[in-house]
Each structure stands twice: as structure tokens, then as C-alpha cells.
Symmetry: C2
């Protein structure tokens, strides 16, 4: 920080700069914007931040974000408890829900296998998933990330739950919607080729 | 926000998204990062934010950021009180100080003339500047921004303080350091040409 500038400003800039995607320049811009807005705006923002850690917890069943013991999805009688989408992080649930295309429930692992990073199966929320599968799950959709560690985690889960007879699926891979071939990486393109599906006459109508 | 997600999360995302340069996606990323860090980190950030509005005020003399009645620059006996650099916003003082090239003092207008936006001379901190000039200022450096409104403000100030006999200067205009001609706009280039200065033999030694 600049010598002679108020300490509280320097502290706020430092605090902001520790957040992801916020460099020293954006941190200063944020601090100045808050100063400009005055006391009420600053207090509202501070309260929103403390409210976050006070009110948001994790659902005892699925491990997703929740306001109570169980989350709004797990307690919703219209959601299919026997159809479970397994994701890595609580935020993945939000991303899936935003797509408004899934009527089942979730299971958040709170991580993925990462042998080099010291994350083994004992660090993932598997005991709860074991219990859910034992209670009766029809299908597990493996929606871990499309990275080496995410794939390894999916393989691990598929092996773990195959003996239980549950149907195990994974998200489709391919060209993203709106994706132009010109800008597509070769790995995605290779995958999209090897997992190509038969053209059906509905496609033209649907698009 | 996504239906079913905790209200506190939605509130935090909304609060962050009102800040400059933070879209809904970055707002969610910030909220998640704070959640991940837990209670202590969230409280520290909230305190930094409220500390900002509680502890930072404006210097009674120059109008820049200050912790007390007068700022660290105005109370510094090593700063030349008779050499006054006039800027638009408190942040401009920080930017000038960062350059570590100025040993005078500042005067912050808290705005610039903007007839269309309804900002006339009465909205600028001019009474204080009048008083300072009356008490004795040797030189006023006009460092308003290089925009139409900033220029108009500088012209206005020059006319206002010319009768007092104070020396009036402005920041040099031209090619920015590290600027490549190829990427320079034509206005800057025109200005740099019309304000070209004689080459002195020191230049080669200095650079």
C-alpha cells in the first residue's frame, strides 16, 4: 500500500486481494467503491459475508449447501431419492440445478481422489453414499469433473458400487452447445468422435 | 439465484455483484471462497469492510483520504504546502503518491465539471482551495483527467486562479512510458507531436 494512506484502506485492500480472481488493483477499486457508497452499503456487505458462514451449512445426507440439517433438495418429495447424481463440490449442485434438467438428488463427495495431493478415498464422503446405496438407489450418475483426477474418482466409484447392482452412468462428453469446431481442443474433438451417436430425425425438429 | 440454494448464499452473491467489475459468476466464486475459508476468514473480511467506512474519512484541508482531521500528507512538515497538485478524486492522490515523484501537497475537488451530469462549480471543493490560495500557494499543478470534462475543469481552475498570481501548470501529455507507437491512439500521438520537446544530451544518460 502507499505510505501515508489510511491503514483501514490498506487492510481492506489486503483482505480483498486474498480472494480468488482479485488482484491488488481490483482490490483497491472494490475498497474505493465501498467507501463511496458509505456506511449503510458497507454494513450490508459485511453482514452478507458473515451471514454466509453463519447460515450456510452442509446437508447431512447429500453434503450440498443447506440452511438446515437436510437441504431443500433432499427434503423435496418431488425429487427422486433413488436417482443420485454424484458430484465433487457443493457448487456443482448449484451448477446442475441451474440447468433445470435433473429431478433426482445429489451426493457431494467434497473432493476427488488426488493421490499426489494426499486425497485418498477416506477423505471423500463415501460412508454416507454407501448408506444411501444400501437403503436403495436405482441409478448413480457419476458427474465428477472431466479431469484425470475426476475420471479416476469416477472409475473408483463405478468399481465400488458395481457389486450392489445399482445402474451406473456418467455425463455425456462431446462438443459443448454453441461450441465451434475451430476453437475446440483436440481432446474434446477426439472424445466427441469416439462417442458419436446415431442421427435421429428428431434432432432437426428439436433444434 | 438457483431455487433451493441457501438464502444467505443468494444474498452474498447479490451483495458482491453490486460491486464494480464483479459479475454474477465472480460473485458466486467469491461467496464460495469465503464459505470454504470458514468463519474466521469471513469475519476478518467483514471487519475490514466496516473498518473502511468507520476509519477512513476525508482530510479537512485537502479532501484526500485521512484517518484524522488532517491527512498524513497535509500534516507532514517535509511536504511543500505551497506546491499544490489539484486532482479530481481521493484515489488520484494514492496514484500520485505511488509514483513517488511529488513532494508537495494535494487538493481533491471530489468531482469535475460536468454540465450535462449537473455538476457545476458549486459541487467542487473550491471554497477550501480559494482559502489555501489566499493563504499563499506558489504553484497549482492541474492534474485533472485528460478527458473533455477534466480539461474543462482545468481551464476553469486556470481562469479562476490566474488573477491571484499563482503559477499554474499542468501534467505533461504524450506517449506513456513503455508505449509502442503502433498501439497508440491518434489523439495521444497528435498531442505528443504538438508538445514535443527539444532533445537534450541528458536523455540518453538518464534512460
Amino acid at each position: 500500500m502507499i505510505p501515508g494512506s489510511p491503514k483501514a484502506l490498506a487492510r481492506a485492500v489486503e483482505a480483498f486481494a486474498t480472494l480468488p480472481g482479485i488482484g491488488p488493483k481490483s482490490a483497491l477499486r472494490l475498497a474505493l467503491a465501498i467507501l463511496e457508497r458509505g456506511e449503510e452499503g458497507a454494513r450490508a456487505l459485511a453482514q452478507a459475508i458473515t451471514g454466509l458462514v453463519e447460515e450456510v451449512r452442509f446437508c447431512r445426507r447429500c453434503g450440498g449447501f443447506s440452511e438446515g440439517e437436510l437441504c431443500a433438495i433432499c427434503t423435496n418429495p418431488h425429487r427422486d431419492a433413488a436417482l443420485v447424481c454424484v458430484v465433487e463440490q457443493p457448487v456443482d449442485v448449484l451448477v446442475m440445478e441451474r440447468a433445470q434438467a435433473f429431478s433426482g438428488t445429489y451426493h457431494v463427495l467434497h473432493g476427488r481422489l488426488d493421490p499426489l495431493g494426499g486425497v485418498d478415498a477416506s477423505k471423500l464422503r463415501l460412508a454416507e453414499l454407501d448408506a444411501r446405496v444400501a437403503r436403495g438407489v436405482r441409478e448413480l450418475i457419476l458427474a465428477t469433473s472431466a479431469t484425470v483426477d475426476g475420471e479416476a474418482t469416477a472409475h473408483f466409484l463405478a468399481r465400488r458400487y458395481a457389486p450392489s447392482g445399482v445402474r451406473i452412468t456418467r455425463l455425456a462428453r462431446g462438443v459443448p452447445e454453441g461450441g465451434e469446431l475451430e476453437y475446440l481442443d483436440e481432446f474434446t474433438l477426439r472424445r466427441a468422435l469416439s462417442e458419436r451417436v446415431a442421427w435421429t430425425s428428431d434432432e432437426t425438429a428439436a433444434s
